[in-house]
């Protein structure tokens, strides 16, 4: 165990995975001095700047509308949670040092220099209060991708060593052990053995060749192992030639969430190489939102060329196999409401897949008022659920979701993201709410027609 594990041990029995509450209000890593941190933060921010990011940095008209789309502002009415404000020091530094009129801003001192105090203050805004859900982009009259910019700001914050400890610790552990939650290859193998035994289901691991390679989220491995069984059941039912591979099974990407681009790449490359090694034509991602963003939309860019296989979220895989008749389902006959994981629907474009599945299950879909690509985030995405001091804020945001779910009056509540699911489980415990979040994959697995 590293020092870090002792300082911030994982609380495996807690309602959600997390490390013990750190005492510091503003967290710092490494030994950089203040000036070096400020320089590193800006350097990391602009390093991956593209034409589109520059356009978004330039375009804001300060209309304030984005506040109305953000669950953290709407539930607190605190102006500091206005989405674009979360980027203020980065905008300031951009104008002064990188924008087209940087020389003018510097000479006339139109924008003051960013200070370490500001960056420390903004740690909460860049991490605790942004789930990178992208809802603000939908309201912004200029179409600014604030979530994308927050992602770049996190690159800067990581370089500066200004990441909330819990998120940093989880990312560091993922880098060191291959899993943020201790689901190492050895742990996975043991789990698979007992799950296969207990449930009498075949779960292939390390087959040399397969058409489909399946990946998992650590949250499933450690907290929702029945998801692995469900995954195996549906793939076996569809008679797929498939396997898990111990050199590349972990689909979560805490390098991406914390802001370490190199760690992000390493995580993605493991899965990519595993897929290539077994000659897979399709890589199936688990019920995890950010894993979809990381591999489906960013994976090929990490690889540097198009991937030699398709990447599908499990809901897309299910919808496709239901469509072609490989998966046949019994009728569920209940009413159901679906919580869209932001990274799969709004930011991923796979909004219709779960709806096809729900229709095939014969469930009466009761949509929440703002749904699909305009859904409200559960409040726990973007790594926020790992951050202790964000709990109160997150619970407030969660209240929107609870109200929406209640208003539908649906009997069943389902989603297709294990991170949303643990956020719901935690919210359920906190509010003593009587609704339980179900997994769409598990609903399918439980209702396969024999």
């Amino acid at each position: 165990m590293s020092d870090l594990d002792q300082q911030h041990p994982l609380e495996l029995d807690a309602p959600r995975f997390r490390v013990r509450k750190p005492q510091l209000r503003v967290d710092k890593q490494g030994a950089l001095d203040d000036a070096a941190r400020v320089t590193a933060a800006l350097g990391g921010f602009v390093r991956d700047f593209s034409r589109a990011t520059a356009a978004h940095m330039e375009a804001c008209v300060h209309c304030g509308q984005c506040a109305q789309a953000c669950h953290f502002y709407v539930t607190t009415r605190d102006p500091k949670y206005t989405p674009i404000w979360k980027l203020e020091p980065f905008k300031q530094a951009y104008s002064r040092q990188a924008g087209p009129f940087a020389w003018l801003f510097r000479t006339l001192n139109l924008k003051p220099e960013v200070t370490i105090e500001e960056l420390e203050e903004w740690q909460e805004l860049i991490y605790d209060s942004c789930t990178m859900c992208g809802r603000c982009t939908m309201i912004c009259p200029m179409g600014i991708d604030i979530a994308g910019l927050v992602g770049l700001a996190r690159h800067g914050m990581f370089q500066a060593g200004l990441v909330p400890h819990e998120l940093w610790a989880v990312a560091e552990r993922a880098k060191r052990e291959g899993s943020p939650l201790g689901a190492t290859a050895k742990v996975l193998k043991e789990r698979i053995e007992w799950l296969a035994d207990d449930h009498d289901v075949e779960i292939p691991l390390d087959r040399p060749h397969a058409d489909v390679i399946v990946t998992l989220s650590s949250i499933e491995i450690m907290k929702y192992p029945q998801s692995i069984v469900a995954m195996a059941k549906v793939l076996n039912h569809a008679k797929a030639s498939w396997t898990l591979r111990s050199e590349g099974y972990e689909a979560t990407n805490f390098g991406m969430l914390s802001g370490n681009a190199e760690w992000q790449r390493e995580s993605s490359m493991k899965m990519i190489q595993a897929a290539i090694a077994c000659g897979a034509k399709t890589l199936v991602l688990p019920e995890c939102g950010h894993a979809y963003g990381a591999l489906r939309w960013q994976g090929a860019n990490m690889y540097g060329k198009p991937l030699p296989f398709r990447v599908l979220h499990i809901s897309e895989f299910l919808a496709e196999n239901i469509r072609n008749g490989s998966i046949r389902l019994k009728q569920l006959g209940t009413s159901l409401t679906f919580h869209d994981p932001c990274q799969i629907s709004r930011r991923g474009g796979a909004t219709q897949a779960p709806r096809e599945i729900i229709a095939a299950l014969g469930a009466e879909l009761r949509e929440m008022p703002s749904t699909g690509d305009l859904n409200w985030c559960c409040g726990g995405g973007g790594g926020v659920v790992t951050i202790h001091r964000a709990d109160d804020l997150r619970y407030r945001a969660f209240e929107i979701k609870m109200r929406q779910v209640e208003d539908t009056g649906a009997e069943t509540l389902a989603t297709s993201c294990a991170n949303c699911r643990q956020t719901f489980d935690d919210g359920q415990a906190h509010f003593h709410w009587d609704k339980k979040m179900a997994s769409l994959l598990e609903l399918v697995a439980d209702n396969l027609a024999v």
Partner: protein
């Protein structure tokens, strides 16, 4: 050289030159950066269509946000449309543009233009009031926001002062009946042209780029904009 000749001559050309150079420079700030090559398998390749959908669709607020944004959006509509009516529909402006570019079109009735002035005037004041009183807007507003507001309001105010005595209809005289107010009005417009590319008024051209890029990205992913 009297004030009017200055406003119609060197000041006008200088301001147009600055407008052009500033716009080019600002756009260069964006386009000098490489567009990131995206190797992910696109769900759709109709990126241009996606960009246009976002540009045009962005003008219509989404139902989901109607409750929270109707007031601010309607007001923004009022002064945007109002300004367009005044600039392109008021007879003296049509003459002015014709002198400058050779292009002309039939003006709107004076009454419509005066109505637009009144609506825009009130609407801009409401916008300023929002900015000064709404906690979110107060927090995020900078010098640019207030200065840009002033720079837009100024031509409206000087223009109103130049309305009297009434402009004789029929032909465009070389010398207006009240040269000084007209000169001041022209100078205030020139100030706007000079400031436009440097501050937030640049959204008049940045809106196409920013919305378009998001629209293309969403089309690629098969997501809605």
């Amino acid at each position: 050289m009297d004030l009017l000749s200055f406003a119609r001559g060197p000041a006008l050309w200088a301001s147009l030159a600055i407008l052009l150079a500033g716009t080019v420079w600002r756009l260069w700030g964006i386009f000098r950066l490489a567009a990131k090559e995206d190797f992910s398998e696109p769900r759709s390749t109709r990126l241009i269509a996606g960009a246009w959908r976002a540009i045009v669709g962005g003008m219509i607020p989404k139902d989901e946000f109607r409750n929270s944004t109707t007031l601010a959006t309607s007001n923004a509509y009022l002064y945007h449309v109002g300004l367009a009516v005044i600039v392109f529909g008021y007879l003296p402006h049509v003459y002015f543009i014709e002198r400058l570019t050779g292009l002309s079109w039939p003006p709107l009735p004076a009454a419509v233009a005066y109505m637009a002035v009144a609506v825009t005037f009130v609407s801009l004041l409401i916008a300023l009031m929002y900015r000064l009183t709404d906690p979110v807007l107060r927090l995020i507003s900078s010098f640019d926001d207030y200065f840009s507001w002033f720079i837009v309001f100024l031509p409206l105010a000087t223009g109103m002062a130049a309305i009297n005595p009434p402009f004789p209809s029929g032909a465009a005289p070389q010398t207006p009946l009240a040269p000084v107010p007209v000169a001041l009005h022209l100078l205030s417009v020139e100030l706007l042209l000079i400031w436009l590319p440097f501050g937030k008024l640049a959204h008049s051209f940045l809106v196409f780029i920013s919305r378009g890029m998001t629209g293309a990205e969403c089309a690629r992913k098969g997501a809605r904009t």
